[in-house]
Amino acid sequence: MYNPYSLENKTVLITGASSGIGRATAMECSKLGAKCVITGRNAERLNETFSLLSGDGHSQILADLTIEKDIETLGEQSPVLDGFVCNAGITTTKPINYIKQSDMDSLFSVNTFAPVILTKTLLKKKKLSKDSSVVFTSSIASETQAPGNSIYAMTKSAVATFSRFCALEFASRPIRFNSVHPGMVNTEMTDNLIFSKEELEADKQRYPLKRYAEPKEIAWAIIYLLSDASAFVTGTALKIDGGVTL
């Protein structure tokens, strides 16, 4: 069957696969024929994702991306890849008067530094094949302002910036690099925010599509960027935000 979005014969590494967007991405990739290498910290939740994958030939690797040795081991154990979804992330809500160095250390460590070091490690170990595609999960936070979101937003704009530099430096291989920028998505990250249910409901009403995204809807955008359908797309930032930034 003709399908330029197919991931048949592609091996894809997905970080943050034990939950939310990462889990949905792994599940959808497997349905489109990819062999998935999934990673996360929580063994039980990662294994649950593993059991939800379609087809066979998948593998799972536990790694804490704040530990440099774990990143090294992940790069070592990873097979040669056609796709890499750099998605693990954390958030916090801190108004500026209460920002602490430790908040920045933990958010930048997972959201920015780990993506940079893991990407470098995969490249140096020649685990990203010719014609492979890398997708970073950034956020519309990289260009919008919400009170309390400054640290998270800085980490997300930094990773999107890094993506553009990668796109330029590896275009000759070619390896493509793009970022996806979701608006709010119904995942644990959103459930755990400090905002009240009423505040979240009111926030949804700001979206022209009047709801938050389902994780799958972000996965489908990631899949487009992984697939041959996006062969001429590199260095771009793709918004999936129900129109909220209009």
Partner: protein, 76 residues
């Protein structure tokens, strides 16, 4: 935990509201200076000073400073 100390720390978050306006039975959401950003500051202050994670629903569910204090105390 001491209510007066809590009121003191609560009052410090505000810039323009007179200190005398902050009493145990003050309905803080009725203060002119109250806003959703102030709510975030209260949550962050409680996290810093008392190591308790309040949520927006706790703020929503409290009217007076005492009510908020009781929530923080119950989670200590």
């Amino acid at each position: 935990m001491d209510i007066n100390e809590f009121i003191e720390k609560f009052a410090e978050i505000f810039e323009d509201t007179d200190r005398a306006e902050f009493q145990a039975d003050t309905k803080f959401k009725e203060l002119d200076e109250w806003s959703s950003i102030m709510a975030l500051n209260v949550i962050a202050m409680v996290d810093d000073e008392y190591d308790v994670l309040l949520k927006g629903d706790d703020i929503r569910g409290s009217e007076t400073i005492t009510q908020l204090f009781e929530i923080v105390k119950s989670r200590k």
